[in-house]
């Protein structure tokens, strides 16, 4: 699967800021193609974020998050933390990405 999550995580004064970009069409299921056929819904529904294996953040999404989703959040952490994101879409596909906090 070419679709991936790109993550950047930076620590400043004990707070880690995580920024993630995901490659995904985020189709709402309400759009139609040129022939008037509905384009099937295809969007990320859940994103789970772990720091050193512990879940620190979760997101539940509908189809109204923009194409190629951007997500940023913060948690109390330190440089060197291993941050991992897993996204699952409505078709059951899983995408992930990880990085070390700078």
């Amino acid at each position: 699967m070419a679709d991936k999550i790109r993550i950047r995580a930076r620590q400043d004064q004990g707070v880690v800021e995580v920024k993630a970009l995901m490659e995904h069409p985020m189709e709402t299921g309400q759009r139609k193609d040129k022939k008037g056929n509905k384009i099937p819904a295809h969007f990320i529904q859940t994103v789970t974020a772990k720091a050193n294996g512990k879940v620190v953040f979760e997101a539940y999404w509908g189809g109204a998050i923009s194409k190629n989703p951007y997500l940023a959040f913060e948690y109390n952490g330190k440089s060197g933390d291993q941050v991992e994101l897993v996204a699952v879409d409505n078709q059951g596909q899983t995408f992930n990405g990880s990085t070390k906090v700078r």
Binding site: V15, M26, T28, Q30, R31, K32, D33, I39, Q45, T46, A49, K54, V55, V56, F57, E58, A59, Y60, W61, G62, G63, A64, I65, S66, K67, P69, Y70, L71, A72, F73, E74, Y75, N76
Partner: protein, 152 residues
């Protein structure tokens, strides 16, 4: 006929198995994807489906950072931060979208500061709802949309 019955039985088995699995998970991970809330066409219905109530208390401790005018409704950058004691989640609702619940962000130790980019069909109020200690707090901002982001 036979096939569909078998498929149904299989589906039931899978569902039961999932339930058994889900109930063994810690509570934090139990909050499964709320399909009904995300598919509701009215904001009040979406809130009721998601929280069990649509009653919110206006709060000035929630801050929305978003453009007043969005030229492109397909990509509207939104940041929400709050300073509410015991905040568990931050959710975004766009009143005039076909399905108003945009997303919900569960703070399992994360701070009350999230950013994302959303689609808006047309000019609408955007609501940020924070759940804390069983209560809902909200604030809103109107965002004018020049070109909608949900049409074909």
């Amino acid at each position: 006929m036979n096939l569909s019955r078998r498929m149904f039985a299989k589906g039931m088995l899978a569902t039961t198995a999932m339930f058994a699995f889900a109930s063994s998970l810690p509570k934090a991970l139990l909050a499964a994807y709320n399909k009904e809330a995300f598919e509701s066409n009215k904001m009040a219905d979406a809130m009721k489906a998601y929280y069990g109530t649509a009653e919110t208390t206006e709060s000035d401790q929630i801050k929305i950072t978003a453009p007043n005018i969005a030229e492109n409704g397909a990509v509207v950058p939104i940041s929400i931060s709050s300073e509410i004691d015991g905040a568990e989640s931050i959710s975004i609702f766009v009143e005039n979208n076909p399905t108003p619940l945009i997303g919900s962000f569960i703070l399992l130790g994360a701070k009350q500061n999230i950013s994302t980019r959303i689609k808006m069909a047309k000019t609408s109020n955007l609501y940020a709802v924070v759940k804390a200690k069983g209560k809902l707090y909200a604030t809103h901002q109107e965002i004018k949309v020049t070109i909608g982001g949900c049409g074909g």
